[in-house]
């Protein structure tokens, strides 16, 4: 399909393990966003990439969280030493370019459960 693809769709892991979440944006989209959505809550902005560069990483909740994007395409969000409060749905979105006028196209997320 031509939409944003996220994998895995579900991930269950034990507290203290590292996890890696993947996002494949729409081809040609230069802007990419990561969000976290806890049950029944709104979207919490984590990080934005323009190309391979993330100008502002202040939205990442702690230094256990990191993200990278390579080749202006695929992005990975890594959470080290997972904690139970990291349990949430992690959503990725892409847009043609960044900026306030651009609609974001979302994947269906990775549901992360920390035991």
């Amino acid at each position: 399909g031509a939409g944003v693809s996220q994998s895995p769709s579900n991930k269950v892991t034990e507290k203290g393990k590292d996890v890696e979440l993947r996002c494949d944006p729409i081809s040609g989209h230069t802007a990419l966003y990561w969000y976290r959505q806890s049950l029944g809550q709104g979207l919490e902005f984590l990080i934005y990439f323009q190309g391979n560069s993330a100008p502002d990483k202040s939205g990442l909740p702690s230094d256990r969280f990191s993200a990278e994007r390579t080749g202006g395409s695929v992005s990975t969000l890594t959470i080290q030493r997972t904690q139970q409060e990291d349990s949430a749905v992690y959503l990725c979105a892409s847009s043609l370019v960044g900026g306030p006028r651009q609609p974001q196209h979302f994947g269906d997320g990775t549901r992360l459960s920390i035991l």
């Binding site: 944003v4 979207l43 934005y48 502002d56 609609p103 974001q104 269906d108």
Partner: protein
């Protein structure tokens, strides 16, 4: 920093009526506001974008208004249908790429 607030957690209306959802923003007036629909277990889907100097924007049964005096955007669904039941999110992006979403209003349209 900008904050987006949406009215009430749930809105229940009868089929055929008009649903009106509210989005309030604090601080500066955003140049654009976006509205999304989110169904359970799915990512949000973009619906409409309205510019600060546009009073109103329409798309089929959807209408969005932007009132900079009240610091508010209203989202209307006319002739509502049960299939319109979903959570509706208001959002603002900055030029620097930071996105702020409201917590959403869950709409239930009863047949």
């Amino acid at each position: 920093s900008q904050k987006i607030e949406q009215n009430s957690e749930a809105l229940n209306i009868q089929e055929g009526k008009t649903a009106t959802l509210t989005c309030n923003y604090t601080n500066y007036s955003p140049a654009y506001l976006q509205w999304y629909r989110q169904d359970p277990g799915r990512g949000p889907v973009f619906l409409l974008l309205i510019r600060e100097n546009e009073k109103e924007k329409r798309k089929e049964r959807l209408k969005v208004t932007f009132d900079t005096t009240l610091k508010q955007s209203l989202f209307h669904i006319t002739a509502s249908q049960p299939a319109d039941s979903a959570t509706y999110l208001c959002a603002h992006n900055t030029n620097a790429g930071k996105s702020t979403f409201g917590d959403g209003t869950t709409l239930t349209v009863k047949p």
